[in-house]
């Protein structure tokens, strides 16, 4: 059981060990395990070889070719000298140009419609029948009930003074109301 734990520890830390990234205590521990357990030793060899090869091969991957860096420097120099501009990505360019086109179309359409004298048809909602009938069938002798006067309490130095300060509001005489848009009767 302990051996298994040691081997697991070894497998877990072997990459850091071959890369020299362990603390001195961990390094000593790893060295002991590698020496004592063949499984750890095999893993160590494998990882060490892979690390060496990667460290040898990767630095030459993508090495610049002759003149490439000078050409890039000329581009960079030019870009750095330029004043700051807003750089848009391709997708942003598409979205902005579509929006601009739509806006232009709307302006053109509105201008054309306005100049050609085309009027827009606005459908007015029907007058509520109840309201019209209410006006028409109202009793001519009917009087609007008076709203009771409002009592106002005014605080004075000697106490409260109550008065009918607010008079009745004059209501609109709805009996004289003529509906300018009478509802057509059926059959008319």
């Amino acid at each position: 059981m302990i051996k298994l734990l040691h081997i697991l520890y070894c497998k877990w830390h072997i990459t850091a060990y071959v890369n020299g990234e362990l603390s001195p205590i961990q390094r000593r521990r790893m060295a002991r395990y590698i020496e004592n357990y063949p499984e750890c030793y095999v893993e160590y060899r494998r990882q060490r070889d892979l690390s060496r090869e990667l460290a040898e091969r990767l630095p030459i991957l993508g090495a610049p070719q002759g003149g490439q860096l000078q050409r890039l420097w000329r581009l960079i120099e030019g870009d750095v000298a330029k004043p700051a501009t807003i750089i848009l990505s391709a997708s942003q360019m598409v979205v902005y140009s579509l929006s601009l086109t739509a806006l232009l179309w709307m302006v053109v359409l509105m201008t054309t419609l306005h100049n050609s004298g085309v009027t827009t048809l606005v459908i007015t909602p029907p007058t509520p029948d109840n309201a019209v009938l209410g006006v028409e069938t109202r009793d001519p002798n009917h009087t609007t009930p008076a709203i009771p006067p409002t009592f106002v309490a005014v605080a004075t130095s000697g106490g409260f003074e109550i008065s009918t300060a607010v008079s009745n509001a004059q209501l609109t005489d709805r009996d004289t109301y003529q509906n300018p848009y009478p509802t057509p009767k059926l059959g008319e």
Binding site: Q68, I76, V80
Partner: protein, 202 residues
């Protein structure tokens, strides 16, 4: 400016160069570019695995860095780490835009390493095969694992520096390297017998 990387030793010299750049000295910009251009191009190429994309990313990286040089704080990170962070971030934008598939190995395995002229045809073929195997293996890794392994082995960064560049804890960087190792081992073994041996024995 030349393709040969000039030797500027020490962070102090780099920081002096940056201060000179900030005064508007054009030659200092050139010197700074000369110092880091090769490394940045290799990094970009190893991550995006296409020449044109690598050039675009490198250009964006330097333009951004030079325009924002006043933002660089030497107390927080080295200039190399700062520059690499910008480059990795730009590479991520590129492969996010391109949505690089991780399985299809077609079309892009063309070798770009200038071979020594004295190389014999067989040796050149073997070298090409080994490089293609490595490139395929890198391509099959997920972007975070590829970044970790390229920064570690391609540029010799420590786990701490990798964590800074990738914007993750050091333990995460360590895990990514370990996982990349496992994947590389499996990928290289899975791609026909001998690819791993070819790579390891070449």
């Amino acid at each position: 400016m030349s393709d040969q990387q000039p030797i500027i030793n020490g962070m102090d010299e780099i920081n002096d160069l940056i201060q000179t750049c900030l005064t508007g000295d054009q030659t200092a910009y050139t010197a700074l570019y000369d110092q880091f251009a090769t490394g940045i191009y290799r990094l970009c190429y190893s991550l995006v695995l296409q020449r044109q994309d690598a050039e675009d990313v490198m250009q964006e990286t330097f333009v951004y860095a030079f325009k924002n040089l006043y933002r660089f704080d030497a107390n927080r990170a080295s200039f190399k780490t700062w520059l690499y962070t910008i480059a990795v971030s730009r590479c991520r934008n590129t492969y996010r835009r391109k949505r690089l598939p991780n399985i299809d190995f077609g079309q892009l395995f063309r070798l770009e390493i200038a071979a020594p002229r004295s190389e014999r045809p067989e040796a050149e073929l073997a070298r090409k095969a080994a490089e293609d195997a490595l490139r395929q293996a890198l391509y099959a890794l997920t972007p975070p694992l590829r970044e970790a392994v390229v920064l570690r082995y391609g540029h010799g960064l420590t786990y701490r520096e990798i964590a800074d560049v990738m914007g993750c804890p050091a333990k995460t960087a360590e895990s990514r390297i370990r996982l990349a190792h496992q994947h590389l081992k499996h990928i290289l073994q899975a791609h026909g017998q001998g690819l791993l041996e070819e790579l390891l024995s070449f």
